[in-house]
Amino acid sequence: MEHVDGIDKGKVVLYALSTCGWCKKTKNLLNELGVAYEVEFVDKLAGEAREACIKEVAKWNERTSFPTLVIRDEICIVGFKEEEIKEALGV
């Protein structure tokens, strides 16, 4: 998992695919907002790490689609939904 420095808005975890255009838009939005977050590119993982990560994503989003953004272990936003993401982060 890669850490991106920024303003602390609590735990923010982005599960993404390195090849996905919508995931990239979501990552760019988080960068523009300047919040601190962790990002995991699930397609870059292999074997057990990949399986474990898929299970973790499925806890929040049963379809394990991407991007899945989990904010403060409370809110899960699936897809690049700009307004919902801003609201959940309080920015």
Binding site: L17, S18, T19, C20, G21, W22, E62, T64, F66, K81
Partner: protein, 175 residues
């Protein structure tokens, strides 16, 4: 982001765009976004050996991922309902003209557990896309392209769909 040469992305873009327009489809007018998706497709070709959808997590087993090989089995239904396919590589006339924007849409693909159940229910004969007998009253069996719906009445499915370029294994027995 990758070691895919920009010329390869450009050549693939031109070919996909020409093919799409020729057969009544459109790539998104957001060319930078389209080229990112094409780069993703080419990365997936290197990683998995086929064009797995860049916006879905491929399993790595081609038989299990066949429905998400681009163009995916869900493209046309998503174009009709949402004006764009899941990753928004392909879009409707309206979006192409710039009168609407693609939005994130729900994934029409069944979830992993739903797919496992479906797979268990498919009769074995449907997996064998060759050598089928014609239904009674017809001279030939009829094969349907799962991507675009093209029908072909012949002994075997065509090697490549003449409409959407999906390969033989994407055909199912229709009649």
């Amino acid at each position: 982001m990758s070691d895919i040469p920009p010329e390869k992305i450009e050549t693939t873009f031109k070919k996909l765009d020409a093919d799409a327009e020729k057969f009544g489809y459109h790539l998104s007018p957001d060319t930078d976004f389209v080229k990112e998706l094409i780069e993703g497709l080419l990365i997936n070709e290197e990683t998995y050996g086929y064009w797995a959808c860049p916006c879905r997590l491929a399993d790595g087993d081609k038989a299990d991922d066949l429905d998400i090989v681009c163009p995916c089995d869900y493209r046309d239904a998503d174009l009709n309902e949402f004006g764009a396919c899941y990753c928004a590589l392909y879009v409707s006339d309206e979006i192409k003209r710039g009168d609407a924007q693609p939005e994130p849409i729900p994934d029409r693909r069944p979830s992993y557990s739903e797919r496992k159940i479906e797979k268990a229910q498919i009769p074995v004969q449907e997996d064998e896309a060759s050598g089928a007998e014609a239904p009674s009253g017809l001279a030939y069996p009829v094969w349907r392209c799962k991507v675009c719906g093209y029908l072909a009445a012949r002994d075997d499915p065509p090697p490549v769909c003449p409409i959407c370029k999906a390969t033989k294994e994407r055909f199912e027995r229709f009649m």
